[in-house]
């Protein structure tokens, strides 16, 4: 692979960090403790900014503001169409700041600047618009009762929501959670990841400018064991929505159970299979798998991290995959020619290198990559292992890095059995031209989304979320709106009704 770090000829935009404090009740404020933490640029490991560090006391203030905004404020009391108008304005403001927001996510998370401008940031605006259009379409139902009763359901906003979002897609995850909750009429406290607080704080500013009332959207950057734990165990939060690792998801759910039994939705880890059948176009499949594994440097919960290739095309597939991986350009994510930026931080970087080492020691064959590729920052080569066995760590555990594990299979049944041989169930890819294979595999793989002859086919209208230990509850689509709504049934007797 070409290391592009020394290359010149691209411009790193001048970036001023405007928002570094907690956003509570419509104001940027310091932490109660006065503490701050550093957020670092993964290209260099250098500090970008110091950020107010929220913990329990700040979460309490944020919840109080959200509670007041929900219990007495205008947000849940205005018509859905009025909330929709404000969300449309929010979306327009996001669109007006694409460059700046994309740059923030790039310096904070090492994400490709070009992708941010083309996908992440406009994608956030489109999620806002989708739910802006849904805010006035929250329907209850009138019911068919078995006795002379008139009954209907009301869909009411669930209340104060806690959102804990991860660092790999700071913008996308923020809007996955915030957009439907806002549309439903909820108020909320958002904790962005400590690695990537910058864009969330910028969004707080835009939300206020769009007209979202104070207290509706509160942002408390901080760490999981302090701020995150305070949200998960808070008695005045009605619902928590978490995206992150399965291990932390378990802690969040425990905290909810131990406190007020708040409803929980979890979007957790994955070890998603991509199954390539003999009838696939090999070049197309190689490209698809490359994208599935290496997108966002493998830091994506739905990464195609177990690649099952049918024996008839296996050798050709492996050869071409290695060639393609070697062509991949790793380097500064601001460089438009770069395919892969640095891992988000030192911890992740070391964890990925450790898994590569474990893979080698457990007997898998390292075909390409496997090494850091820069003196400075957290860059890792696109890596491919073959001869991977089902029980190896690299086939079972989520690596969250640019590491492909290639495995061979013979029959459809075997592919299904292997694909399901995991505690995870987030996503799966299937590459085949055969309609029966497609139908059988789609129904047999226990995962929340199946992409057939495509991958990462996310869409605002398409629900997304896991089976098994990949979590429960859906983001996106109308399903996500339902997460933030209570159903209330209202019943009254009928007298002299002409029909039932």
């Amino acid at each position: 692979m070409a290391a592009a770090n020394g290359e010149k000829g691209f411009v790193v935009p001048e970036l001023e960090i405007k928002y570094t404090k907690l956003f509570i009740n419509g104001q940027f404020v310091d932490a109660v403790s006065g503490k701050t933490f550093e957020t670092r640029d993964p290209r260099t490991g250098e500090v970008i900014a110091t950020i107010a560090e929220g913990d329990k006391a700040d979460v309490d203030l944020a919840v109080k503001a959200a509670r007041e905004a929900f219990d007495n404020g205008p947000w849940p009391r205005m018509p859905g169409c009025a909330r929709g108008r404000i969300l449309h304005k929010f979306a327009d403001l996001v669109d007006q700041h694409v460059e700046e927001l994309a740059a923030l996510d790039t310096v904070d998370a090492g994400k490709l600047f070009l992708m941010g401008k083309m996908m992440d940031i406009p994608g956030g605006a489109s999620l806002l618009r989708y739910y802006a259009g849904a805010a006035d379409k929250i329907h209850g139902e009138t019911l068919k009762m078995s006795r002379p009763l008139q009954a209907y359901t009301l869909k009411e906003p669930v209340g104060v929501v806690g959102h804990i979002v991860p660092w790999n897609y700071p913008t996308t995850m923020f809007f996955f959670k915030v957009s439907p909750a806002l549309a439903a009429g909820c108020t909320m406290v958002v904790k962005p990841a400590e690695q990537t607080p910058l864009s969330a704080l910028f969004y707080a500013h835009l939300a206020k400018e769009a007209g979202i009332p104070d207290g509706v959207l509160n942002i408390v950057p901080g760490f999981g064991p302090t701020a995150g734990a305070a949200i998960a165990s808070h008695m005045d939060i009605d619902k928590i929505s978490f995206t992150g690792s399965t291990e932390v998801g378990r802690i969040v759910m425990q905290a909810a159970a131990m406190s007020n039994l708040k409803s929980v939705s979890l979007e957790l880890g994955g070890k998603s299979p991509v199954i390539v059948f003999d009838d696939a176009d090999v070049d197309m499949a190689v490209n698809l798998v490359n994208m599935a594994t290496y997108t966002n440097k493998g830091e994506i919960c739905v990464a195609g991290s177990r690649i099952y290739v049918q024996e008839g095309i296996y050798d050709a597939f492996v050869k071409k995959s290695v060639e393609l991986a070697k062509k991949s350009v790793v380097g500064d994510p601001f460089n438009p020619n770069v395919h892969q930026g640095p891992q988000v931080d030192k911890d992740q970087y070391e964890k990925v290198l450790k898994y590569i080492d474990v893979g080698k020691r457990e007997g898998a064959t390292l075909l390409t990559g496997g090494k850091p590729c820069s003196e400075k920052g957290y860059y890792i080569e696109p890596t491919i292992f073959t001869d991977v066995k089902e029980d190896m760590s690299i086939a079972q555990e989520e690596i969250f890095g640019p590491v492909m594990a290639l495995m061979k299979f013979k029959t459809v049944e075997e592919a299904i059995q292997k694909a399901n041989n995991t505690r995870y169930g987030l996503a799966a890819g299937v590459v085949t031209k055969n309609i029966d294979t497609m139908n059988t595999v789609s129904r047999s793989v226990r995962a929340g989304v199946i992409w057939v002859n495509c991958y990462f086919a996310f869409d605002p209208d398409a629900p997304f979320g896991g089976y098994k230990m990949s979590g429960f509850g859906k983001d996106m689509g109308i399903d996500a709106l339902d997460k933030y709504l209570h159903t209330k049934t209202v019943v009254t007797p009928l007298y002299n009704t002409p029909w039932l």
Partner: protein, 544 residues
Amino acid sequence: MAAMRATSSFLSRRGLLARLSADPLLRADNARHFLPGAFRRFSTAPAAAADEEPIKPPVEVKYTQLLINGNFVDAASGKTFPTADPRTGEVIARVAEGDAEDIDRAVAAARKAFDEGPWPRMTAYERCRVLLRFADLMEQHSDEIAALESWDGGKPLEQTAHGEVPMATRCMRYYAGWADKIHGLVVPADGPHHVQVLHEPIGVAGQIVPWNFPLLMFAWKVGPALACGNAVVLKTAEQTPLSALYVASLLHEAGLPEGVLNVVPGFGPTAGAALSSHMGVDKLAFTGSTGTGKVILELSARSNLKPVTLELGGKSPFIVMDDADVDQAVELAHRALFFNQGQCCCAGSRTFVHERVYDEFVEKSKARAERRVVGDPFKKGVEQGPQIDGQQFKKILGYVKSGVDGGATLVTGGDRVGSRGFYIQPTVFADVQDEMKIAQEEIFGPIQSILKFRDVGEVVRRANATHYGLAAGVFTSNLDTANTVARALRVGSVWINCYDVFDAAIPFGGYKMSGIGREKGAYSLRNYLQTKAVVTPLKDPAWL
């Protein structure tokens, strides 16, 4: 925000009336001092307002041609027709008169736009963005649109500016939000089959809109049709072609591809008939009279069996129980009938009042009608403008005569206002009997008929004794009465302790001869979608 609130409830208490009555000049008790002429009883002192020099509308007429394939063009025949100002009967503009040949051109353009063009092929999100931009443009040009609508239709400017234009804009935004949420079901099969239901746009939709709410009916029809990805040929009423042409040009400015929306002003027997019987039109939606609705359904049957939605006439009951707040009921019953000069398909045109509150109700209704401000629709504070044209004007006065001749008590009004244009006094009849013509036929004018009843069973029976079934109002504070009556009335809308609430999301349409199908809400999407089941066998399915 203010506009938004007005949109959702401009006819209810918090809306238009609240705004008007918040203005001390317009509050009824103060008004006598400030506007002496306007509130006097018209039968004794015809309002001067109607005879004053008409206020010059603050708008110019820009578009008077047919809009076909993205261009404004003359009619093939070269013919034009006049559209008149109902305040004076004078010509506002001459408009290209579409005929069968123009409908052919418009359908050909729509067909091409649908069969080959980008509109049904672009993402729903892109369609959504076009409709949102259109709504923004409507808002930016709301003054001109409201003025055109008032000029062409004789509608009070305060009503068009604060009610109808925001409602039309709201309707477009509502359907913009549906574009990317049109879901089919994945259906459980009885055996090993995988079944998906696809909802596809139906194709070329023909739409015929009436003159009483030209812009709003445009939005109700064009909004869902475009959100679903269809192409449209719209025929406007010959009385009111102007606002549709204006906003259609804005829709193109917003990025609508050519041919997707074609607007053909013209007459029913020519352009309307050509559209209804066209073999290249896949769907027809019509709002207008029951008589014309029958013709349209027949033309569809005789041509290509295109599915038809009809929103037709009504003779909607407004039922006031003895436990109702009489003052509130009087006010709402008044507005239910007199709104838009009584030219509403869902006008509450049979006011049924319980005998225990009847006398009080009649007296207060009379007083309210006499306070109604009739005059130039461009004048601030005017509640009622002229009727749409001479034909309607004569028809309404004919009904007044029929009421008097039939033995109903003329409580107030009954005559024209002034000597020019088509203004009619707010008129109230009491002691109206069910079999009278004024209790049976749609008058479409400012004539309130009050009928007396004794109990719930009786009023339900009488309320249902009509060919129509569009809407009804029920005024009661009793929950059980409300539930019983709401279920018993054979009508498409029941407003309980309110009337004329027309949110974008609420379905609207008739039972019986008031029509077929529903407009607005999610229900209207069905009018513009085909349903396709796609079935394939499953081999070794993991579950069924």
